[in-house]
């Protein structure tokens, strides 16, 4: 059986169920890298120039951990998933860059996704990918229909049940108990709700963000994430803040930021990494909006490989203290 490796980083959180279904329908076995560790990050960093951003270094660490464990590694080059909205250069160059800096990696399955080139081009790309496993175009078609269905189920699971991507992935693969503890049913979440905005590969990689979600829940807050919002809510927030989207995955930052600053959260925390091109502009838009509204407190956390856990904890505590004192003041005014 052909083993296809998928690194647990970057777009994994958005598309894993879809990819997994596709490859399994075509009769191959999907191998996934373990959760991020410090060793993986250091190994990834050692391969690239220092300016490369943290998520890419983590990604390369995951690729390195898959070497010799699979026959192919799947790394798509996602250029655009919406008309005239493009992705960051790092995503476009990901397959080529990985090949250049990790020469020992198994052959890379790369596929170009560019909606602007039209449907025909997209279908051709998918067929080209399927060609590695079967000659039969109908089989590829069936696999891609099943994959798309899995993707829709995945998204629905997150938006309607309030699950985070890792929880939804676990639920779909059946490894989670029948009654999952969702954030909404969290009994200790009494002190308020904090919205986390940022790309899923930052929010749900506990090594990168120093277990931020866990810490917030421990402190008694309910955690809101971009995936819990509907596509429509995100879209209207983007239109309000930016006019039209410029980046693929702008919803996770500008959309969610705009939405939660307006309603539903006692505080918003934006998570970005140092040197991120798109986020440097998008987080600024959210920050600007927060400064104009002066309603919901906003904090932006910039992460990199030198970020110390103590620093993150201190800033988090200060932010939560501020929210509590604000709440108290408001209560006093009401009395």
């Amino acid at each position: 059986m052909i083993r296809v490796g998928i690194p647990r980083a970057l777009l994994y959180y958005q598309y894993y169920p879809m990819w997994k279904t596709f490859f399994e329908e075509l009769g191959s076995q999907v191998v996934i890298s373990p959760s991020t560790t410090q060793a993986m990050l250091s190994q990834g960093s050692s391969r690239v120039v220092a300016d490369t951003c943290l998520p890419v270094k983590v990604f390369l660490g995951h690729v390195l951990s898959l070497v010799e464990k699979c026959d192919y590694i799947f790394i798509p080059a996602i250029r655009s998933v919406k008309r005239r909205v493009y992705n960051c250069s790092k995503f476009l160059g990901l397959p080529d860059m990985t090949k250049a800096v990790i020469p020992e990696s198994p052959p890379i399955l790369d596929i170009d996704i560019d909606i602007n080139k039209g449907k025909r081009d997209l279908y051709q790309s998918i067929y080209q990918l399927g060609r590695h496993f079967t000659w039969n175009p109908f089989k590829v078609r069936q696999a891609s229909i099943a994959a798309w269905q899995a993707h829709l189920d995945y998204q629905k699971l997150m938006s309607s049940h309030g699950l985070t991507p890792p929880q939804a992935i676990e639920r779909m693969s059946g490894t989670l108990e029948a009654t999952p503890k969702t954030h909404s049913s969290h009994s200790t979440s009494t002190r308020g709700a904090i919205a986390l905005i940022g790309h899923p590969y930052l929010l749900y990689d506990e090594h990168i963000n120093h277990r931020l979600i866990h810490r917030l829940e421990q402190a008694g807050y309910k955690v809101l994430t971009p995936e819990m919002l509907t596509a429509k809510g995100l879209e209207t927030a983007i239109v309000r803040l930016a006019g039209s989207s410029y980046w693929t995955y702008e919803e996770e930052v500008v959309g969610a930021g705009g939405y939660y600053l307006g309603s539903g959260a006692d505080g918003v925390i934006g998570i970005m990494t140092f040197g991120c091109g798109p986020d440097s502009l998008m987080m600024d838009m959210v920050r600007r909006q927060a400064a104009r509204l002066r309603a919901t407190p906003f904090m932006s956390l910039t992460l990199e490989e030198h970020t110390a856990e103590a620093g993150v904890v201190t800033r988090l505590e200060a932010f939560l203290d501020m929210i509590q004192s604000k709440k108290r003041r408001r209560a006093e005014v009401c009395v």
Partner: protein, 366 residues
């Protein structure tokens, strides 16, 4: 309406000619200086690149001079640059300037689109006037570039260092002042012959260094501490593919014969980078591969945190074709002495490499 625009090298000269001919009210902000940079840095989000910060500084200075309509490149599918206009407009509004931003598309712009934009800006001047003004602007642009190419060749071999640069400054002024095609032609011929007559050291065979990288830092000497002149002082001849007149020729006009140097560059990059990564990343990789044999070394210029160039830099390090590459990242923290030290060390390395090659060749022939 008073029009303002950011600087990029000598780009303001053709635009000035265009605005004058169409009697558009305009301001040219002061050329990039320390104040421009400080203003830009102060009001920019920290993670942005030097082109954003400098152009923001220019726009603020233009607004100070009374500009209310600002021209800024934009578009989609390039790099962050495409949405700079939007963010800069917000920053200017927050600073209290009531300005309107006009985005000049650089990715999907056609000749007709550009002319239409000019027509709108000029308050519906007849087409014939617009076309003639546009042509004159292009003529100034290509005159500037022709002279600059000669300057690049003279700099490393001139006896008295700095002569070519002095002549170039004078030539820029003369081109700026030229009001018709005849004067322009005369200025061009005159300065090129003057440059050719500069006393040269014919003994030296200058090292040849290719300059590649990101568009803005290549064309705006202020952002890279004028790396080309500094290399000239060290006796190095500089080759650069990117000239604005060439770029406009290929991006605005239909390419009838289908001959385009960038195709060749993309082809050279194919084995290492198969697709466009936005900005000039693809071209950087291709140029390195393509010119390995011709050049002695390559200087790769990129703004700090530039997304496409980081991808390019990572790939460039691993190509089969090996040639010394020095990557210089430009940002507001860069200091001139630091850059000069790196340049000197790089040039020393290239000289030593050439000596070693010559020795080898002598040994083979003997």
């Amino acid at each position: 309406m008073r029009l303002g625009m950011p600087h990029m090298g000598n780009l303001y000269i053709p635009f000035k000619a265009l605005f004058q001919r169409l009697s558009i009210d305009y301001v040219i902000p002061p050329v990039n200086n320390q104040r421009t940079l400080s203003l830009g840095v102060k009001h920019s989000p920290e993670g942005l690149c030097i082109p954003f910060k400098l152009t923001l500084g220019n726009l603020i200075e233009a607004a100070e001079l009374g500009a209310d309509t600002l021209l800024m490149p934009g578009g989609s599918g390039i790099c962050r640059l495409g949405c700079y206009a939007k963010t800069q407009e917000e920053i200017l509004r927050d600073l209290g300037y009531e300005v309107e931003m006009i985005q000049a598309g650089v990715s999907e712009q056609t000749l007709l689109g550009t002319l239409r934009m000019i027509k709108r800006l000029s308050n519906n001047v007849p087409w014939i006037k617009i076309i003639s003004a546009f042509r004159f602007g292009l003529a100034k642009l290509s005159a500037l570039d022709r002279i600059e190419r000669v300057v690049q060749r003279v700099r490393p071999v001139e006896r008295i260092k700095g002569t070519a640069n002095k002549l170039f400054t004078k030539a820029i002024k003369a081109i700026d002042e030229a009001n018709d095609y005849n004067t322009l032609k005369k200025v061009q011929v005159d300065y090129i012959s003057q440059l050719n007559q500069v006393t040269k050291d014919n003994q030296v065979q200058p090292l040849i260094v290719g300059i590649i990288g990101e568009f803005y830092v290549l064309l705006e000497p202020f952002s890279s501490f004028d790396v080309e002149s500094e290399l000239g002082k060290l006796g190095v001849e500089v080759r650069r593919r990117l000239f604005l007149s060439e770029w406009t020729k290929f991006s605005l006009f239909p390419n009838l014969l289908g001959i385009d140097e960038t195709d060749k560059i993309h082809k050279a990059a194919q084995p290492y980078l198969k697709r466009d990564v936005g900005g000039d990343g693809w071209e950087s990789v291709g140029e390195k591969v393509l010119h390995t044999k011709e050049y002695d070394g390559i200087i790769h210029l990129a703004p700090f945190t530039c997304m496409p160039e980081i991808v390019a830099q990572n790939i460039m390090l691993t190509t089969k074709e090996t040639i010394p590459v020095l990557t210089i990242l430009c940002d507001e923290q860069m200091a001139k002495p630091g850059m000069l030290t790196r340049l000197e060390a790089f040039v020393d390395l290239l000289e030593r490499k050439r000596r070693a090659q010559n020795n080898n060749r002598q040994r083979v022939t003997a």
